[in-house]
Symmetry: D3
Subunit: 136 residues, 6 copies
């Protein structure tokens, strides 16, 4: 009897999409305005979903306060109000597309969860565009 518990979070960041193997024209062609060298930014909204058995003692899959704290340290403190390309280790060599960001976040949270818990992360880059990753 597995239940999924979900918690929302958010961070704001600047980024640009850019592939260093391409010249500027090719970057512009593929990424359009998203390759602006002066950066643009987003309010990233996050849904962190953890699936597992209910602990019969607590009635919880996991204490959401513990999950809230993991998200705070692993995601918010790490990414909020940052320039992803310049200030975040992973994106110095990885293009910060929504797809790549959601995998980086998933890996950081997964490492802090108890084994036996499944994780899915949903990342809204805008209210109209969002991505999901479940680790498979």
């Amino acid at each position: 009897m597995k239940v999924t518990v979900n918690r929302k979070a958010h961070f704001n960041a600047a980024h640009r999409l850019y592939n260093p193997n391409w010249d500027d024209a090719k970057n512009k062609e593929v990424y359009g305005k998203c390759s602006n060298p002066h950066y643009h930014g987003h309010n990233y909204e996050l849904i962190v979903s953890v699936r597992g058995e209910i602990d019969p003692e607590t009635g919880f899959v996991m204490n959401l306060d513990v999950l809230r704290r993991i998200i705070e340290v692993e995601v918010e403190d790490y990414l909020d109000h940052k320039n992803l390309n310049i200030e975040v280790e992973e994106f110095k060599t990885l293009n910060p597309t929504a797809e790549n960001i959601v995998i980086v976040i998933w890996n950081k949270i997964k490492a802090k969860l108890d084994q036996g818990l499944d994780l899915k992360v949903t990342l809204y880059e805008t209210p109209r565009n969002f991505v999901e990753y479940s680790g498979d």
Copy 2:
């Protein structure tokens, strides 16, 4: 060719989180403000999702008006404006965490659906915290 049909509903209720096998200090430590003996409350928002084949005569997986009526009787009449711990049979012996509430609701709705229909229930305890249960 299976389609999922979804319907939203809602109810308001008071509850507290409390494990009678623990003393007050332990309850406070695990549940924080949620163990307040005077209760607090939520606007619970619900998404009921039913998956099945489309009936070629009606073009419906199931008539949403029938589903609406099931939700009204099984969930809204049963839980709306109630104190879950005091007034709802199941929660006299079961801690009304979101996880446990979603399973109680799932069981009540599932018993009223035609066989061959899959059910998932999503329960928002707040706009930021929600749980999902699919019966497996």
Copy 3:
């Protein structure tokens, strides 16, 4: 390592639910106000979800600008501000329930996607009623 990318879209249309094999009384009994012969309408909101591997060169599952253009041609130009029963080929012989509409949309978008990409379409008929179809 598969990621799902999602894009929202919308169109407005008129429709009525009607089964020509039934008399008016039976249509009224099954579909209620939705069988009004003078039509009623909806703001249909759409989430198009595409799942696949990330292209290591672009960092994209697929370019959302390409997906946006597919949705524009296949869904918005085709259905927006239309009377579904009268003006849309498929619904001249198919009852435009949300279930049937979502399958028509799914088929039209799927035909334009690269092989190896999975597709799910979520269609909101109202903010409270919605359907989902994944092609299986």
Copy 4:
């Protein structure tokens, strides 16, 4: 000490924009796809806002259950699942733009409220376009 109380409601309807004093080309030029002779439709969402003194006995500006019932009779029963141009008296001679619809609704609700209460109606034609009317 005046407080505003607000209640949401909704109805679905078909309509077209059309000025009978103009030819089809002019209607098309001004209203675009909205003048489609076969109609299109919307989920109209409504916020009804009533401002007045708090009754010290009840603690209410007005009983929202009374307001809910007024909206049900005056708006929902009157407009829901209707073709506005064909089936609603006012719009047989009045173009059903959002601006004109909100005034018709305002007049119908205002006539049922106690004197001394101010009324504002907000009408969403789509989640992106909406109008407001306060009677002045």
Copy 5:
């Protein structure tokens, strides 16, 4: 040149509507399920709106971090996870209708703002019912 700055907040609480001058039958007649003696509850969502001149040095009407802190102390710490009727001083003698709650909140925040700043508070009792108070 005055601008309004708005900040959202939220708290969860239990309450019941009850007038001690009336018998139970009259309370039930006026307040319906809301007079349940065992309480029910809500996720109260709040918008705090402050209007004033922009400070040319900071570019702010007021520092939202200061406003956030005022809301935290005056509203969230004071009302969150409380039983309003039992645990909150003002509502021991005042019926905790949304109208009365919004005035209590307005008074507490107003006392902490600089003179010359106008205040409006919007309080959602549910996503469908909300009240507004501006102090006049």
Copy 6:
């Protein structure tokens, strides 16, 4: 008989808050993480509200398609995917706080509206923080 018509729009941008008359420590103290020299960003969501008489011929306060086009040119083309501090003329000498951005947008749209129309602009910097300006 004046009605307000509202239209939503959006743009994404990078910015930082910074007062060149202050040293870095003072900027950090007042603006916190928002003064990060590498920039951060937002999805700015916009509601443009125009109030005026209904034109009896069109049934419109103003044609929303004209308003949509004004917003596209004056706001979206001008600000979308830009670094506000570096690439937008006004913010080379004006701190891009939400308060200052909303006034810049208001001035640009107002200049394009017919006289006799009132304008209000609401700017969401995040889903939780927003500002409003009406020109007075």
